[in-house]
Point group: C2
Chain length 429, copies 2
């Protein structure tokens, strides 16, 4: 075997245990919360036929696909997101009962220029309700988003909502053509929280070619109260529909007990052009600069892309790395790669079986623990425990074993406590 230098592709990362253990626990909590609302896991392959993916993400997206010919000369690509594979599954499985409530937590691949916080492989975490056009489904996404954050210990957050139909009506009124020009205007508006009103006004003129009346119209709209929307859009069917949906969603948020965490923000446009109704973003109040940690909306036209009947859908996508960064910043998690807080030492071969038995009892009592692999001097075992961030070491030397006792040593203070052999689990719990 040639001696190859070990290295990793640019834009890719290893997640070592220090980072991955708390992140995995976060994802487990997220999944359990999704399941408590009736969402179930779906897994799809990393590789798809290229024509399943191509043309779904715009010209830019197509260029970012990891696309190649496989050993059988099939034109294949790594998945770019979890939504198009979901659409494929829906298209291939008409037998699935609707509403189909699924979540998927899996990596996606995009050949982007790597940069600060931008990677070529990253985990997406999507939860979607497929096959219901009821606004209760939109509201359930708010509720499950709030439940996820609360389950992770975050209480200060805001779910910002808007409705895409309002933006459609606004742009139509201002005479901005649908499609690319409209999308470009929405992208400019979307920058409002980052660059402020003056800069967005300038962009709308310089980049989007709007006149000052249109720019004023946009900012008049952005300052509306939800209750004013219906009269503002009195002449627009789609505008009235958007206003009715947004106000109904706020009513449902009240019924769901999350109204105090929901704010209307008419500037939210979302980058993707497939949203058709409700759109959401979510910010941690104490770490707002991270940006939205959870976004999504209703996309009633997308899942029909594979020729089946049109299938309404609504969902949210959690920014795994961003949310984890937020939890770290808020002190709600910390990097730590050791799942145990207890090391059972091994005095010598004669007491090893006793150490194994103590460890088995601890695990049976729900206390994860490690047994030292070997039996060197105690000092060396304590050093190992210290390096692993272990809080307590268990000592069962020949004297302790003979007396049916165990010594628990707290590493931080050096305190020792000798207890009866069968009381050790309750002492540590």
């Amino acid at each position: 075997m040639a001696n190859v230098k070990p290295r990793i592709l640019k834009g890719f990362r290893d997640y070592l245990p220090d980072n991955m253990l708390p992140k995995q626990r976060m994802l487990d909590t997220v999944a359990r919360t999704f399941e408590s609302f009736g969402f179930a896991p779906l897994v799809t392959p990393a590789l798809e036929y290229a024509d399943i993916l191509v043309g779904k993400y715009g010209d830019e997206g197509d260029k970012l696909l990891y696309r190649f010919l496989d050993n059988g000369d099939r034109d294949v690509a790594l998945r770019y997101d979890l939504t198009v594979p979901l659409a494929r599954v829906i298209g291939m499985n008409p037998q699935l009962a609707k509403p189909f409530k699924r979540y998927q937590i899996a990596p996606v691949w995009r050949a982007e220029k790597p940069g600060r916080g931008r990677f070529r492989e990253f985990v997406q975490c999507d939860v979607d309700i497929v096959g219901s056009d009821d606004l209760m489904a939109d509201a359930e996404c708010l509720a499950v988003g709030a439940a996820v954050l609360r389950a992770l210990g975050v209480d200060d957050f805001v779910l910002r909502v808007n409705n895409r139909k309002l933006l459609t009506a606004l742009l139509a009124r201002l005479g901005i053509a649908e499609g690319k020009p409209a999308m470009a205007v929405l992208r400019s508006v979307d920058k409002l929280p980052k660059i402020g009103e003056a800069a967005v006004r300038a962009l709308l003129v310089s980049e989007n070619g709007l006149g000052s009346a249109a720019v004023d119209g946009i900012f008049d709209f952005l300052k509306l109260d939800p209750a004013e929307l219906a009269s503002w859009f009195a002449d627009s069917e789609v505008g009235l529909q958007g206003a009715a949906e947004l106000n109904a969603l706020l009513g449902l948020a009240t019924e769901l007990g999350v109204r105090d965490r929901v704010e209307v923000d008419l500037s939210i446009a979302r980058g993707l052009d497939y949203y058709t109704g409700t759109i959401y973003e979510t910010f941690l109040t104490a770490a707002e600069s991270l940006g939205s940690v959870m976004s999504g909306g209703r996309y009633d036209d997308l899942l029909g892309m594979f020729g089946g009947q049109s299938t309404p859908a609504v969902g949210i996508s959690l920014g795994v790395d961003r949310l984890f960064a937020g939890l770290l910043e808020l002190g709600l998690v910390q990097e730590d790669g050791n799942p145990t807080r207890v090391l059972v030492t091994v005095f010598d071969a004669s007491t090893r079986a006793a150490s194994y038995a103590i460890a088995a009892d601890l695990r049976a009592a729900g206390v994860p623990c490690e047994v030292y692999l070997g039996a060197p001097r105690m000092k060396k075992q304590f050093q190992y425990a210290d390096r692993r961030g272990v809080a307590h070491v268990i000592i069962a030397g020949p004297d302790e074993v003979a007396r049916g006792e165990v010594t628990i040593k707290r590493l931080a203070t050096g305190e020792q406590l000798t207890v009866a052999r069968d009381a050790v689990a309750s002492h540590l719990r």
Copy 2:
């Protein structure tokens, strides 16, 4: 968007919720068990530089790599297993404290000819102890394997163990050259449980070109009792070492309380040529025809492949799909894609908030539940519950709400029970 027929690549699968929900729960139990012994999760990228992987799996393996040039003309490949990426991580991170105990549960890709139970993407589940040459590490793998199976509800299983050094000594004594000829003989011996002694004897003559004395020597060896090994190998240093290790491992298995589940099987050779000591396979007694559900061993020379110092390691790999098939066969899990057993119905818009509140209380009490999305006639909601395999529906109509009560209906029998609003969770738990 062109109208593309939705389809999936041959050799790849979607895991729909019916299958994925119980499988995910199995994997969660596996991960929690690993953690209870101090193993922590590691995640590595799907893509690696091709030269990291090429040459590690033999000529056959190299041909099965999904290898391509990425958009930057880098020669890359999808990972083929989790062991070589582990070796890369060890090579790149000398700061990691040893023993490094990690697990990884992740898909791997091999462009094999798809067949019954053989896929081009499948999940591997590996647990390894890196940096300890102590036999306690080998024994810990037995213990964690037994603990995993017990945590999954399997009590009848057998951990078959052998030691690669014994096979090395045997082949040397019979004058079979190391490398490919020795590996070919081991592969023939490995077929013993599948094709029986007579067929293996025939293979050893026809395929491996052995004389009848050598064939007899192999079968004399296979019938030895572990206690006889030392005298049989009295003239072989490596044979004596293998005998000592195997007998010491059996002693540790006794101390660990798993000796009754451990059997010596001198015919176990394992296909891979990188094992250097202990080797394991694991069979479910009541579903033995599935083959080994968990295999592995000690591989002390492999992790140094990236030029670092030699790093001893021992581990086991769980056959996720095979083990899941075993659990299904034993009736320990069943296919079921609904994480909830309770549907909270919605009588009409006036009682919707009450239904939401009941659902929130149930979830807070640890009872997953779904709220019907909409408020059609009860009959339709019951039909949905039935199709979803829900056991209980909750009814909170205007009368119930006015009286502070809730009706629990058991779908299978039609039984109904009306209880106080705040007693509903305790009734369902």
